[in-house]
């Protein structure tokens, strides 16, 4: 987290100039630290992969989004009504409904950095 700390300093020390995309992004990333997250995890049946995914997501949420997230786990076999709305192709799929924009993360969430990048919790770089 050393990298993100140094970035935080940079952002706070400088006023954001209009049109400075990088600065805006950094600021938005900073906001993520306080925003409320609404997440939806789609899994396909109660198999090993699904279990791993649920566990991993929970772990990450507890670590990074403590007390400021809602997580809904949906088994696409059980609940078919939500599938057409969220257009799930791959399972498991984690969708960040809020804050906008919509984000999608697929797989069993074993690669933690990828999940964090997908949820905009750490910088892409």
């Amino acid at each position: 987290m050393a990298a993100s700390k140094s970035m935080k300093k940079k952002v706070s020390s400088k006023a954001i100039e209009p049109g400075d995309v990088t600065a805006e992004y950094e600021a938005a990333l900073e906001n993520r630290k306080t925003e409320h997250y609404v997440l939806r995890l789609y899994i396909a049946g109660n198999n090993l992969r699904s279990q791993v995914a649920v566990e991993n997501v929970k772990k990450i949420c507890d670590e990074y989004l403590k007390d400021r997230y809602d997580l809904e786990v949906i088994d696409i076999y059980q609940d078919r009504t939500k599938n057409p709305v969220d257009l799930i192709l791959a399972a498991p799929t984690l969708i960040r409904k809020l804050p906008l924009p919509l984000r999608r993360v697929i797989g069993d969430m074993t690669r933690k950095e990828k999940v964090l990048v997908g949820l905009d919790l750490i910088s892409r770089v």
Partner: protein, 578 residues
Amino acid sequence: MPATKRKMNTKTAHAPIFEFEKIPSGIKGLDDITRGGLPKGRPSLVSGGPGCGKTLFAMEFIARGITEYGDPGVFIAFEEKTDDLKKNFKSMGFDLDDLVNRKKLVLDHITVERSEIEETGEYDLEGLFIRLGSMIDEVGAKRVAIDTLEALFSGFTNEAILRSELRRLFLWLKDRGVTAVVTGERGDRTITKYGLEEYVADCVITLDHRVTNQIATRRLRIVKYRGSIHGTDEYPFLISNDGISVLPITSMSLTHIASDERISTGIPKLDTMLGAKGFYRGSSILVSGQAGTGKTSISATFVDAACRRNEKCLFFIFEESESQLIRNMKSIGMDLEPWVKKGMLRFHAVRPTAYSLEMHLSTMLKLIDEFKPTVLAVDPISNLYPIGDDIQVRSMLMRLIDYAKSLQITGLFTNLTNDAETGMYSLEPTEMHVSSLMDVWLILKNIEGNGERNRIFSIIKSRGMAHSNQLREFVLSDRGIQLRDLYKGTEGVLFGSARMAQESREAGERIRRNEETARKKRELEAKKTVMENEISLIRAKFAREEDEIKVLIGQDVSRQKASENVMKEIAVQRKVDK
């Protein structure tokens, strides 16, 4: 096992070789090649480069499946939006909205944005299968189309997962028992991009769009078809405003019924040469000759004669425009315009290079279907050679002729030859190829001599009828086509002005001879008169002499009587005893 028993029965009753069930693809001509359509309840793969007609293939399979065979369908588009699809296919006469409203079709567009997706480990595409499954259940679909695989899989990066999911997708479709068409892009060297799809699909069809001599031709090939015999050639196909039509150029059979009816050629003397009756109805006629020998005039005359008999004619012209041809034919005293106005005659004038051979063929077949002619003329077929090689042109003509014959349409085809240097019957190889398709072959030839060029006409062959073996001089006049006998006499064979000169010489000779005879007759007549005069003179003389002699005789008698009387008187006076 009653099921196997039944199977055994059908096996023996219908086909000696078992083939699994097929369903009509809805694509014109394809079912002829595949002998029935696509494998029922199995996935087929259609692969090809961009713009080769994959989406159209898939959509026709679904839409015609609904409209023509009553099979509900699901179409999943990963590339085109549903609104675009609806618009695109409306122009082809498919009202997709209507099909959707009638619960016959599910049209779904799924976007896969790779940038939105972060891959964090193992996953599968179960979501897609479930979605697909619920759509199939929604309308009770029997047909499914997925267009295209690449667009779906481009959203994901893990190739190992993709490959296994691809295999699973095909197996899943098979398990569901739906007949599926999955489209995919062609790979660099392989049939498909992943080199896997073609192995998991039960039927693989490749579409190809290639350009030769600046003319694009679409081709279709069935790469594999598990458990079935199929045509293996590359078949040209067309995309016209009513969809794909595949032209199985080699699968036509010779089963047409031959007619005994004869129709006039429009040239009385030619009818005479063809056993006094003309062509057989439904036969194919080749008129070949050099430039300017009157091929078009022969075709126009034939067409004109057919129109006079109240028959509908279709005239394909590749060299002139309609109005030009009509004008030109007026110069030989033939007016085709009224036939056009009456709807008896339709021209289709187009440059051969306007589109590909297959497109020409399909246009022709379509026009034949629309217009329903009984006579068809193509002028000239040789103009097709720039856009196809011998075999292609030949197979195209074969199909056209076979099609015409199956409908009892008499077809006349002209062919321009350029064998100016060679003899009367020397043939070009291309002509050899084409001629075997034809029932009647007429040849026109220019012959130079005496500082002029004359047209000579002859019948090379005419299947199934006695025909003249004589050469004729072919004369175009303002009263149409005339075939004249050649001069055959002591001076050899003469034609053109030499023939005319010889004929006039002979005519002079004849007049002179006639005059001679008349003179002799007159002479004889005169002699007769003289003779008769003499006879009458002799008669007159005789009559005169007769008179004189008679007088003399009369005198003698009266003199005798007088002397007798005198003797009597003397006796009386002498009182002679009685």
